[in-house]
Every structure is written in structure tokens, then in C-alpha cells.
């Protein structure tokens, strides 16, 4: 298994991760954008509506406030004490004045509503009398007061109350402050002669309490007079100046009391009310973008999205990993099949699909194993019958030549030797052709070999001696039939050419679990490479049977596996040694072998 990046990049897990990430990203972005856009619109609408309610509350408060002020002013106007003080003072003695002043205080006290406790009321009589409701001093002279815009407008229209912005008012505490001055002239009904002016000074802080709950970082309020001048606002920079904002112009033209507009890149909701009693207009401005910014904490939104994304990814990975784990295992097992290992079965677990896959795989593996076993069996059988056929093929030349040798012995009248020869031949043929067993004991094999050697000695003379050295325990060991004959044959005809004498020694002994058979000759030998070729090559010579050296090796491998076989060591002019290694098998085991 190659564990490199490309492998993982192409893996199931990586693809799923990628898809999940893409999916989450896509969903997060689309949903966020859609929700943001939708809620932005909805918010602008609902927030505008709710702010309008607040705005209406301010309108009501201001109207109430106006009503209260009106009560105070009309209380002053209708108070006999004030009228006496401001107009007919000369007729009063000191004690009466003392009482009168107290009465003024009481009259005013009664008319004030509770939220106007510390109202700054200055009453200026045309006769030069002052009344100031607070414990402080008047810092402006009478002329300055009479010259002020608030007084002038009041004198021009004495019937109504006027709201004027002023930087600096008449008393010590409001000397340098931005204030709203409410002015109203008091006059006699019939003659319409003005006898006093009431000036109520309200600092911006005083005003603020009427609209404070509307104000935030993204909302502001403007009270604008008839001359388009801002009388009062939380936007300190604009107080006292003429309104020039584009939205203001728009608000003038439209009939709507609430509308949304773009103003210098800002998305504003404008609310508008005419305060007819006050003679002013009230404007509420909401910066929707800022309000939204406040509403949506973008970094938090992103963090949450990312966090949930990672969470889903992790869960996905865990699930996917669990699902694909059996698949990876399957892949691993399948790659082992390629190496010839058919024993790796899959545990059947996981999801239904994977279970099915594993079961099918195991079933297939079973089939393959069966087929292979069958195939091997068939091949074995085939080989067996091939060998059988081969060992049946006694070379006719061998028979002719042997019979010719026997005829020659009969001519010589060597009847004893003739009988010996014929017995050996009969025994050899019987053991080779008639005996159907594939395995024979070493004793039987030696008997065959001795018959074969006897025939050879008779035919070719006794120049080559053959000696057997068999350890006692080996006699009943089973070996495949005719496994040694080809080597002896080979030694007779190739190791001792042209009547050369010598000896062949056959050594059989048990070494551990193995049976080792050595066939050693002191013939002419050959070089090692030729020796190895001999084992493989089929030679069409006068063999005794169809079994030659070349298929001994095959037979042994087929019967006993790769650990067994033959080995030839040869040195030129010194001789050749053939070593045959077989497992030790005896008669009882042979039966088991046959049953297998």
C-alpha cells in the first residue's frame, strides 16, 4: 500500500471531507446572505414601526409638555398676585407685598406639574418688575432681555407660545448654555396691551428627558422651528443652525410620516410629525445600517458558522470513517489476494451495504478456494495418470535387446544363467507393468534394481559393479516406483563409456525426517552445468521405461512439494553424485496419503 498524499487525496474520506466542507460553506454563505437580506428588510420595516411608536410617544410627551407649560403660563396670567405685583405695586404697602409675593409663589407652585419642579421661569413686567422662580441671579440686563429674539417674537404674536433656540439665556446657570426659550407675552384681553413677558428657559438637558429614550448611537431627533432652524436635538453640532440635510428637503416634499431614504451612503428611516401647538416640526432619523450593525455581530456570526461547520465536519468524518473502515479493510484484504493469499476473510460488520459486500466477498473467496483446490486435484490426478502411463511404456527396444541377450545365452547353452535372466526379466516386467501401486517399499525397489542390474550385467558384461548400502530402518520406507532406475541407467550408459569399468554405490539412510538416497558413480563425470541440464532435458534414448531423469524431479515436487527433489553434483573425470531427498513414509501413512 503506497501511503502518499496523492493516495489520500484520492481517497473516499478526502472526497467526502471536501464535499462536506464545500456544502457547509455554500449553505452557510447562502443562508446567511438570504437571512441577512430578508431580516434587513424586515428589520428596517419593524424597527421603523417600533421606533415610530417611540417617536409618537415623544410627540405626545412634547404636546403634554406644551400643555403643562401653557397651564403654568395661564396660571401666571390669571393669578391676581402676579397681576398686582407686575402692575399695581405702588398701591401696596410692604406687608401686603410680602403676602403678595408669597401668594405668587403658591399660585405658581400649584400650576406646575410634578415633572417641572425646577422650571426656570422668568416673568418680566413692562413696568420693570422681575420674577424669577429659582434661587439664582439674572445675569442679563432688562434691555438685553427685551432685545432678545424670544421676547421680540412673543411681542409680535402675543397669542401663542414661541419656542426659540438661544445660545445663552438670562440667568446665571444658563448663561453659557444652549437653551430653548419658551416665550409668551401676557396682555389685557380688551386693550390687548402687553403687561409682561413670560420666559421659560429649558436647557438641552431639560429637553433631553422628553426624548432621551429614543436616542441611541443610530437614532437622532430634531425639533425644527418654522424658519428651518434646529431648536433642539441630540446632535449638538446642528442645534441653532439651518437644516440643510438632503433628507430634510425630501421630508418637506412628502406627505408620508415615515419613509426610507438614501442619504450620503446611509440608509435612513425618517419620521416626521408636525407639532402644531408648538409651531415646530419633529424629525426622527434612524440610521438603519448602524442599527443593523448593532443587531448583527458579524464576527460572532462568522465564528459561530465556522464553529458549527467544523463540528459538522468532525461528526461527518467520524461517521464516514466508521462507514468506510470496513471498505478500507476490504481493499487491504483484496490486495493480499493478489499476492496469493486466499485465507483473508472479511468480518461481516458495518452498514447493510458493507455487510452485503463483505458476505459476497467471503462467498467469492470460498468459491475461488474451491476451484483452485479442485484444479490442483485435477492436475495431480492428471500427473498421476501421466506417470502411470509413462511407467507402463516399457521400451520395446529394451525388451528386444533383453530377449536377444537371452537368445544368446540359450545358444551358449548356459541354461542356469538363462533361467536367472528370464526370472529377473519376468520379475522386472511384473513389478513395472502389473503392479498398479505407485509407491513401493525400498526393499521392493532394490529387488527391481537388482533384476535390472542383472540383466544389464548379462547383456553388457560385469565391468561396472553396483553396491547397495541401505540402513536397516529404511527397508520398509515407501518411495515412488521407478524413482532410482533412471539414474542407474544413466550411470551405466554415460558414466562408463566403451567398456570402462567402475562402480556405482547406492546409499540410503534416514536423516531426520527425510530419507536421503545417494547414487554415486566413479565414472567420467561432467561439468556442473551439463549435469543440471541432464535433470531437465528429455533424452530419447534406450530407456527402460517412459520415466526418465527429466521427470523424476517433477514427480517428486508434485508428490512432496518444493522442499524435496534431486540434486546432481558432478566433477569431470571423478564421477557424479545424485542426491534424492524424500520424506520418510511408511505403509500406514501411505494409506492416509491415498485417502487424502
Amino acid at each position: 500500500m503506497k501511503k502518499n498524499f496523492k493516495y489520500y487525496g484520492n481517497s473516499f474520506l478526502a472526497r467526502i471531507t471536501l464535499m462536506v466542507m464545500l456544502g457547509i460553506g455554500l449553505i452557510a454563505v447562502t443562508v446567511s446572505v438570504v437571512v441577512l437580506v430578508m431580516s434587513r428588510n424586515a428589520f428596517t420595516e419593524t424597527y421603523g414601526t417600533s421606533q415610530e411608536k417611540v417617536f409618537e410617544q415623544i410627540e405626545k410627551e412634547l404636546n403634554d409638555f406644551h400643555g403643562n407649560l401653557q397651564d403654568v403660563i395661564s396660571a401666571i396670567d390669571s393669578s391676581w398676585a402676579f397681576r398686582l405685583y407686575l402692575n399695581g405695586d405702588d398701591e401696596l404697602d410692604n406687608v401686603m407685598t410680602f403676602q403678595n409675593i408669597y401668594q405668587m409663589e403658591k399660585d405658581l407652585e400649584q400650576s406646575k406639574s410634578s415633572d417641572m419642579e425646577r422650571l426656570n421661569i422668568l416673568v418680566l413686567g413692562t413696568g420693570g418688575k422681575h420674577y424669577l422662580s429659582r434661587t439664582e441671579t439674572i445675569s442679563a440686563s432688562d434691555e438685553e432681555i427685551m432685545d432678545s429674539e424670544a421676547v421680540k417674537t412673543a411681542l409680535m404674536e402675543p397669542e401663542i407660545m414661541h419656542y426659540t433656540f438661544s445660545h445663552g439665556a438670562y440667568t446665571a446657570t444658563a448663561k453659557d448654555a444652549d437653551v430653548v426659550i419658551v416665550s409668551k407675552a401676557l396682555y389685557f384681553q380688551e386693550s390687548r396691551e402687553v403687561y409682561a413677558v413670560v420666559l421659560v428657559t429649558l436647557t438641552m438637558d431639560d429637553m433631553r428627558k422628553y426624548y432621551d429614550y429614543f436616542i441611541s448611537d443610530y437614532t437622532s431627533l430634531y425639533l425644527v422651528g418654522k424658519d428651518d432652524r434646529v431648536i433642539c436635538s441630540d446632535n449638538k453640532g446642528l442645534i441653532g443652525s439651518v437644516m440643510e440635510e438632503p433628507w430634510y428637503g425630501q421630508a418637506q416634499k412628502t406627505e408620508q410620516t415615515r419613509f426610507v431614504t438614501k442619504n450620503g451612503g446611509k440608509n435612513l428611516t425618517i419620521m416626521k410629525r408636525e407639532l402644531t401647538y408648538l409651531g415646530c416640526s419633529l424629525y426622527g432619523v434612524v440610521d438603519n445600517n448602524l442599527a443593523l450593525e448593532n443587531l448583527y455581530d458579524m464576527p460572532l456570526l462568522i465564528v459561530i458558522c465556522a464553529f458549527i461547520g467544523v463540528l459538522i465536519l468532525v461528526i461527518c468524518l467520524i461517521f464516514t470513517r466508521q462507514t468506510t473502515k470496513p471498505l478500507s479493510k476490504l481493499v487491504f484484504k483484496m490486495s493480499m489476494i493478489r499476492e496469493g493469499n486466499f485465507n483473508e476473510y472479511m468480518p461481516v460488520e458495518g452498514t447493510i451495504e458493507v455487510k452485503e459486500l463483505a458476505a459476497t466477498y467471503n462467498y467469492m473467496l470460498d468459491d475461488i478456494r474451491n476451484y483452485i483446490a479442485e484444479l490442483l486435484e485435477t492436475q495431480k490426478e492428471q500427473r498421476k495418470s501421466e506417470i502411470k502411463a509413462l511407467q507402463m511404456q516399457i521400451n520395446p527396444h529394451y525388451i528386444y535387446n533383453t530377449l536377444a541377450s537371452i537368445k544368446w545365452l540359450v545358444y551358449q547353452n548356459n541354461s542356469e544363467k538363462t533361467i536367472q535372466m528370464i526370472d529377473a526379466f519376468i520379475s522386472l516386467l511384473r513389478n513395472t507393468i502389473s503392479n498398479a501401486d505407485e509407491f513401493i517399499t525400498i526393499s521392493q525397489e532394490i529387488e527391481n534394481l537388482q533384476n535390472y542390474i542383472l540383466i544389464n550385467h548379462t547383456r553388457y558384461g560385469e565391468a561396472v559393479k553396483v553396491e547397495f548400502y541401505v540402513s536397516q530402518s529404511c527397508h520398509d520406507c515407501l518411495i515412488p516406483k521407478l524413482i532410482l532406475q533412471p539414474f542407474i541407467e544413466n550411470a551405466f550408459f554415460h558414466a562408463f563409456p566403451s567398456g570402462r569399468g567402475g562402480s556405482i554405490q547406492i546409499l540410503m539412510k534416514q536423516r531426520g525426517e527425510d530419507l536421503e538416497i545417494r547414487i554415486i558413480d566413479d565414472g567420467i563425470g561432467m561439468n556442473q552445468s551439463k549435469a543440471e541440464q541432464v535433470v531437465k532435458q528429455e533424452t530419447k534414448k534406450e530407456h527402460f521405461s517412459g520415466i526418465g531423469i527429466h521427470n523424476v524431479q517433477d514427480r517428486l515436487r508434485l508428490l512432496y512439494g518444493g522442499n524435496y527433489g534431486i540434486r546432481i553434483e558432478s566433477v569431470e573425470q571423478e564421477g557424479t553424485t545424485v542426491v534424492v531427498t524424500l520424506p520418510v513414509r511408511r505403509r500406514t501413512e501411505d494409506k492416509n496419503e491415498g485417502n487424502e
Binding site: Y131, T173, F307
Partner: protein, 432 residues
Amino acid sequence: MKGMNRVIFPVLLFGMLIIAGCGKMEKQEEKARDMQEIVIWTWDETFNVKAAEMAAAEYQKEHGDVRIIVETKEREEILADTKNMLSAKLYENLPDIIMIEDYDVQEVLSLYEDEFVDLTKQVDYSKFADYKNQLCQRNGHMYGIPFDSGTAALFYRIDILKQAGYTEEDMQDLTWDKYIEIGKNVYDKTGIPMLTLDPTDFPLVRLIMQSCGSWYVKGDGCTADIVGNKALQQSLMIYEQLLANNIGISVNGWNEFISAFQNGEVATVLSGGWIISSIKANGEQAGLWRVAPIPVVEENQNAVAASNVGGSAWYVLEHSANSRAAAEFVVEMFGENDSFTDSLISEIGIVPAVKNPTVFENYEAQDAFFGGQQVTKLLTGLADEIPTVNYGSKTYEIEDILEEEFQNVLVDGKMEQCLQRAQMKAEAVVRE
């Protein structure tokens, strides 16, 4: 699934911690950016406001990181706003330092003791007059820094009195009978009344009462003392006489009280030492004024020629934006800085509420405005003789009742019944 839970929960928890952590960090940063801005609320432009502005200017020289804003407000407004906002805990609209008049202090402290910075350990109180310390403390803790003493004196226009044939000697060791007699003559000869009387404010009643060692309440501070209060009765009778004989002219409100003497419409002013700055505001009258101890009530054996009107102290609000910096400021300027107090004596004529005024360089200074009199020495000398009274916490509430009943006295002349009604109402007010 069990295995998976083990993975998911720590991950979730970790994520939440990160989110929570982010939020906290932002908030901390915001606080660090705050500037040291100290806001002071006080009243009286020529006196308290000026003193605060002088202190601010001097303090800012050495403390560049501090900005001090002095806001002029009405005395009642400061009290009402402070009480309202403290009860609603709207700290962001409150200043750091407020001035409270001595009459109101105990009421405020009894309601909102925890809202003021405890200065007990930061200030050496032993140098301040004992009666002042008594006013700033509650349950053994000191909350304010005494400012001016409010020692009362008789300020008079020597030029007007001379027109009626009186000299400076005539104005010493006065009794009220003598004062009324002089007043009658002055009004007859010049048409100018002696002083102003406001039907809605009775500082003169308080002045006379304290000079006799009594108050609207008894020594415990919570028992109304109206009916049996001789000094009160005597002071109201003096009031009646002053009014009836045109010696005390009726005015309305603070503005007319101030403008009356500034415009030369009255011959004398009977008030606390803090009025000096307002008197001096009209430079044209320089040299025309003199100071003398107040008249005594002859019929009252407790009466002395010394009393107190007003007087106030600085208080630092515990939960204001820059409470610590504000406390450092008042302690440094008003609690420990003798040379600054010295400059206040010369600039606004403050009568410092200390035990030993001789430490000040300007203690013996001669004031040309008052014809070269040693005003500070005179007033601080008088301060030692002021009878100590317990103001209780309802001074102005009881006075409102008295003002109302006094109107009835003027109508039917039945002082006894009026005082009895006032006693009843006052008992209802002082009950705690």
C-alpha cells in the same frame, strides 16, 4: 455513540469559551480609554463656583491627565437631581463632586450614606471646626470636606447710615431693638430700607435662632421645637416689626435679594460670610461697606452676637465615573492646601471653617472694600462664639411650614395659634 459524545462536548464547550472570551476582551479595552474627567456641581457664581474653578485651574497645572468641569446649578436643583438619580442609581448622569449645604447634609447622608466616598482616612479633620466636622459625619465616618463656615455678620453701607446720622461706633454691639430704631430713622431720612425679606426664604429667622442657641428642632435633631421656642417666637416678632416699619422690604427670590444690595436699595445685609463675594461684585461700592457682629436679642439670655447662615461642604460620589480621581482632587485642594485657602480668602473672602485661622497669611489682611477692616479676622473670631445647634435633617421642610403660617400671622395677628399649627405640622414632618 458514547464515544462520539466524549468528542463533541469538549469541542462545544471549547468553542463557547472562545466566543465568551472574545466578548469580555472588548469590554475591558473600552474602559481603559476613559479620560479622567471630573465634573463638579455647585452654585453661586461669585463664591462656590469661583472657588471650584480656581481649584480646578490650579490642580490641572500639575495633573495634565485630569480635566475638571465646573457646572453651575441651583442649590435645590443639585440636591433634587442628586437624590433622584441616586434613588434610581443612574450614576452616568451624576457628577463626581457635589456641594451640599450644611442644612441638607444629614438628610442626604441618612438616605444615601453608601453613595458617598468615605474620606475619614484621607483627610486630617482635626484642623476643621468641630461643629463643621459634626455635620459631615455619619456613624463615625467622615464624608465631606468642610468648605466655608457661613459665620453670620452684619454688613452695612456706612454712606447711607451716615446720611441718617449714624457712625461705625453706633453699629457695634447692637440689639435688635436698636437695629429697628436705626432702621426706622434711616427709612425716614433716606427712604432706603435696612434689608430685604423674602416671604419664601427665612434666613434671618435661622440667623436669630442660632444666635440664641436654638433651632426648628431640639438637640436630638428629630423633635420639632416650635411652640415653646422663644428664640423662634422672638425672631418672628422681629420679622413682623421689620415688615411693618418698612425696615425689611419685601422681595421675591434670590435674584432680588442680591440685586437689592448690589443696586444700593438696602442699607444692610445680614447673612453668612459667603455673601461677601456678592457684595464685592459691584466694584462701585468699594469702601462704602462695613462689617459688624450681628444684633443680639436682648430679651433672650442665651443670645450672643454670633450666628451662622448656610455654609457648605464638598462631597464625592462613590459610584461616579472618576470617583477616585475626584476624591484625590478635593482632598488635595480643599482638604490639605492651606496656601490655596489663603488665596480663596483674598479672592472670594471665604471664612474658612478651621480651628486655627491664624495660619493663613491673609488672616489679618485689611480689606479696602470694607474701609480697611480685618474682615477675615473679625469673622473667624466670631466663628468661635457661634452656639452649636443640631440642624436635624428637615430644616427647609419646617421652614416651608413656618412661611405658610407666618402669612396667617400677618393676616390675623394670632402668633400663638399659628405656632401651634406649625408645631403640629412640623412634628408630622420630622417623625422618622
